[in-house]
């Protein structure tokens, strides 16, 4: 057992030295590159996107000198602040795209500083952004009565295709029943005499109880992330922040897959991860691995499960 741990530690040290994760300038450069990669993967709103996005973003992905450049970051900030913050209600702009801009603003401000101030700014700034995202998400849950009584997860589990695989695995409802309910619901949404119609969903007592558990679990884990990321690092509780975040990622991403949010959250988590005093940058490496593995969360786990068990 000890030899396995030794080998693992040596491997981590090797990756750490290859990536120079002990150098904060390098950590910042990697974080900015990951941010640009995230833009590249999830931006669809630029005019002539297929042409403009590669011209704008590929230089930042390929060259660290460009991704950390003040002028380059200011261009990204101006373009995407206009698209996502100023024009954010003109089309469907999900919250994680706001987050792209917030991270760009933080990295832009950080690029003006050197040494200790620079490190303090981009690491603690990233920590606070994560904290505030989850603080608002938790408050949002308390403002929604249908979340607190479990209706949200019950309804979403039955009609949202992203949750279908999970619902089919953990309840007695079959995938074909869920597809039928989803199709009836879609017909309701498209109907001209919309106010005269209603549809009946089929649920189970287990599904109801599970939905209630999921609601309170979400409030707990998101609330804990908010608290541990916002409080000062001098408090012992803050030491558990990455643990809560990783539990959130593992329990949430495979069920409610939002790859854009997962990617930008991982960029922020990576940026703040070296705040821990540990000599080994294992958390930084873990977040880098999660970033690379994000496409796996979109894997149709239900099909694999059906293939194995049916």
């Amino acid at each position: 057992m000890n030899s396995v741990i030794d080998i693992l530690i040596k491997k981590i040290q090797l990756i750490e030295s290859k990536l120079s994760l002990n150098n904060d300038d390098v950590v910042f450069a990697i974080a900015t590159q990951l941010l640009v990669v995230t833009y590249f993967l999830f931006v669809h709103e630029l005019p002539f996107n297929a042409i403009v996005a590669p011209i704008l973003l590929l230089p930042g992905i390929l060259f660290r000198e460009i991704s950390t450049n003040k002028i380059y970051l200011s261009c990204l900030m101006a373009i995407f602040a206009f698209l996502y913050l100023y024009n954010g209600l003109e089309q469907r702009i999900p919250n994680h795209k706001h987050l792209f801009v917030y991270v760009t603003i933080l990295f832009f401000i950080s690029s003006f500083y050197k040494a200790k101030e620079f490190v303090y700014l981009f690491k603690h700034g990233s920590r606070l952004i994560i904290g505030f995202v989850f603080l608002f998400a938790t408050i949002g849950k308390f403002l929604a009565p249908e979340f607190l009584n479990g209706s949200f997860f019950e309804f979403t589990g039955l009609v949202d295709s992203r949750f279908s695989g999970f619902t089919a695995i953990v309840t007695s409802l079959s995938m074909s029943e869920l597809v039928t309910m989803r199709e009836s619901f879609q017909q309701l949404l498209n109907s001209n005499n919309i106010s005269d119609l209603e549809i009946q969903l089929e649920s189970t007592v287990w599904k109801e109880n599970l939905s209630l558990f999921m609601a309170y679990w979400t409030i707990f884990i998101e609330g804990m992330i908010a608290v541990t990321f916002i409080i000062s690092t001098k408090y012992k509780l803050s030491m558990f922040r990455d643990l809560f975040l990783i539990i959130f990622m593992i329990t949430t991403y495979p069920i409610a897959t939002v790859p854009g949010f997962a990617a930008i959250l991982t960029v922020l988590a990576f940026a703040q991860s070296s705040l821990h005093k540990s000599e080994l940058k294992y958390l930084s490496i873990l977040y880098l691995c999660i970033f690379v593995l994000i496409p796996i969360f979109s894997f149709p786990f239900y099909r694999l499960y059906s293939f194995i068990f049916y």
């Binding site: 917030y102 303090y120 952004i129 949002g140 649920s203």
Partner: protein, 154 residues
């Protein structure tokens, strides 16, 4: 910028985030905005969201009123999305201009955008209603209820 203490600078982004969060609360309560939108980070909390909203219009053609779900008219997809995100008075008026500027024809009793060369009818938009999902936890029934409606006087 270098003269500013970094201890204060780390709060710049959280302050911007808080402004958008407060704006989200205000617009949701005052103008029925979709709570998932607008950078409030209130996603995965409410059942009512823009992708599950349906805008329905009453249009008048030759003194008859017809009800149409805007989801079924491709030419209205942009204003349809805007109304579902934020059904404001400004957007209702914008919808009126767009809808009345399109060429509508009657095919049987069903109004839709004219095929090429067909003669367009004069159309007046009378009312827009935005419907959102209502889920009854006890009966497990789902129906659509008006979130906001807007009537045009002429």
């Amino acid at each position: 910028m270098k003269n500013i203490n970094v201890k204060y600078l780390i709060f710049v982004v959280p302050i911007i985030m808080s402004i958008f969060f407060i704006r989200n609360i205000y617009l949701v309560n005052q103008q029925n905005m979709d709570s998932w939108m607008g950078g409030g980070f209130r996603m995965f909390a409410t059942i009512d969201k823009m992708v599950l909203r349906s805008p329905v219009i009453d249009i008048e053609i030759e003194n008859n009123t017809y009800t149409i779900n805007m989801r079924n008219v491709n030419q209205l997809s942009e204003i349809n999305a805007k109304l579902r995100i934020l059904p404001s008075e400004k957007r209702f008026n914008e919808a009126k201009k767009i809808i009345e500027s399109l060429s509508w024809c009657l095919y049987g009793d069903i109004p839709r955008i004219c095929d090429l060369y067909d003669e367009a009818k004069v159309v007046a938009l009378r009312e827009v209603r935005i419907y959102g999902v209502k889920y009854d936890k006890l009966t497990k029934r789902v129906r659509m209820v008006p979130v906001r409606s807007y009537e045009f006087s002429n």
